[in-house]
């Protein structure tokens, strides 16, 4: 679907991208990961074909540098900062539908998809940040593109709106759309990405999975282990002896681990003859609610 080979981009003396290569398969969700200045937005601009660069980049088999407009027809783009013209929601959608050569009949469908039904007469300036983000997603979906390109999609949203937006993107990915998004929030990457293009100082540092990235970054997750009540005291004692931070929560114990330590915990309980009834790794990196073990 997307094939980038030796992408290099310089702004004067600054090298924003230095020989970056990667490829993305159809239907995958890829995160462009890195700190500010790593080159994430430059890759997004390159994918949109809105600046010149060295190397080759094809989207759906089309050369981005030669046929940028055709490539943009296949991509739905959601920018980091919402910048719309001073129009109503409906006028905005009509305007972009015309540019994308899409019949205005699709507007109610995309409004429903992004939960903006009833907002169409409102001025865009009257919308909240989350609603503007959803409007940008609605515009991106107008032409039913194969690829969604999102630049720091939840950076300016509150926690609730972030979850809402991530859920929408997950559904779109599940429906077969290829997702490419930039982020420097690991929770977002963990929730959305199959693979990560990890950039550092304009160079490709690694192509990895969210779990590998978490390990590399020394990030910690919560392993949720269900244990029968009669074994919980022994389990807590074993965890304390080994120095694991843990939080009892009903019939489960949440154990704070690095991503590579999951097997260590299971082995510890096995060696201590503590039967486990279920376990999973939570997506959240937040501390779970503590409940007394009864």
């Amino acid at each position: 679907m997307i094939d980038a080979q030796n992408i290099t981009k310089r702004y004067g003396k600054v090298t924003a991208l230095d020989n970056v290569s990667f490829s993305i398969d159809v239907g995958k969700s890829i995160a462009l990961w890195g700190a500010n200045g790593a080159g994430k937005t430059t890759i997004i601009r390159s994918l949109l074909g809105v600046h010149s660069f060295g190397g080759t980049l094809t989207v759906d088999g089309i050369d981005v540098q030669k046929f940028g407009k055709r490539v943009r027809q296949r991509i739905g783009y959601v920018p980091q900062e919402m910048a719309f013209f001073d129009m109503s929601v409906l006028e905005t959608l009509q305007f972009y539908a015309q540019l994308k050569k899409v019949n205005a009949d699709v507007i109610p469908t995309v409004l429903a998809a992004v939960k903006l039904i009833g907002q169409d007469p409102k001025r865009v300036s009257a919308l909240s940040g989350g609603m503007k983000q959803r409007l940008a997603l609605a515009i991106a979906l107008l032409a039913d593109p194969k690829i969604l390109l999102l630049d720091e999609p939840t950076a300016s949203l509150d926690a609730h709106a972030q979850q809402d937006f991530i859920h929408m993107i997950q559904n779109l990915n599940a429906s077969g759309k290829t997702i490419v998004f930039s982020s420097h929030r690991f929770e977002e990457v963990a929730a959305l990405a199959d693979h990560i293009v990890w950039l550092e100082g304009g160079k490709l540092k690694a192509l990895c999975t969210p779990s590998e990235l978490a390990t590399d970054l020394g990030l910690r997750q919560w392993l949720r282990v269900e244990i029968a009540r009669e074994y919980q005291s022994a389990a807590i004692s074993s965890l304390s002896d080994k120095g694991y931070h843990h939080v009892p929560n009903g019939k489960a114990i949440y154990i704070n681990i690095q991503t590579h330590q999951k097997v260590d915990i299971l082995r510890l309980f096995d060696e201590s003859h503590i039967p486990i009834t279920d376990f999973d790794v939570t997506d959240s990196y937040a501390v779970p609610q503590q409940e007394e073990v009864s």
Binding site: T41, V50, P79, A83
Partner: protein, 283 residues
Amino acid sequence: MDAMNILIIARKELRDALRNRWFVLFTLSFAGLALALSALSQPTGTQLRLASYSRTAASLINLVLLFVPLISLTLGTSGLASDRETGALAYLLAQPVNHAEVLLGKYVGTAVALLASLLLGFGVAGIALTLQGQNTNPQSYIMTVFFACLLALALLSIGFLIAVIVHKSSTAVTSGLFVWLLLVFVGDLGLMGATIVTQLPIQTIFWIASLNPLQMFKISAILNIQANLEVLGPIGIYATEQYGVVLLPMMIVGLLLWTVIPMFVALLVFSNHSLITLKRKPA
């Protein structure tokens, strides 16, 4: 290039202009002043009555020389620059459109709004004159309107060129105002000063003056009314004698060139920009 995209963007620009309160204020002011001038341009001052088309056209020349460059340059510089500053331009360029379509669409839309505003102003004055039965020479009046429209388009092109070169909205508008001052005031005064100091030959002074689109408009409009340029002094007499009937077409072509060349350069510059560098965020 997709003409439909140009049309879509032009329609949006036209709608934006009609919602712009400054633009509406300009339109009403221009119409009011044109109407007032048509009433005040009377041959004798004892009794207020509407003057003839030619006399009104002559009065409107000064109004056009002051107002039209100001609004054209302001509209030209502000629209593109502020869209760039808010990020709306970058977002537009991330859609299936190309640079030329966006710039031409914005130009066409703004131009239509500007010309509609001028036509309204001139139209109000023209209708008032007609109602008073002073329609002795409407042709010269219509030609003056035509020259004013050419001047507006030329200065709008210059405004777009400034907006493409200067990235910051406030700098673009300030630059537009500076160009307005240069063309309206400094151009004339500077040329007069240079003439006195350097003793330039009259043909050189004429050509230097004629490079100013405002002078092109003034010469065209005066020639349209009275067939010679005696009112402009020795330079006017020289130009009339030297170029005769060719002078008016020369000035019209000059105004057209002032429309086409800055816009062409603006298109080249704009198309070579790294589009979404417009927000200057390299990573």
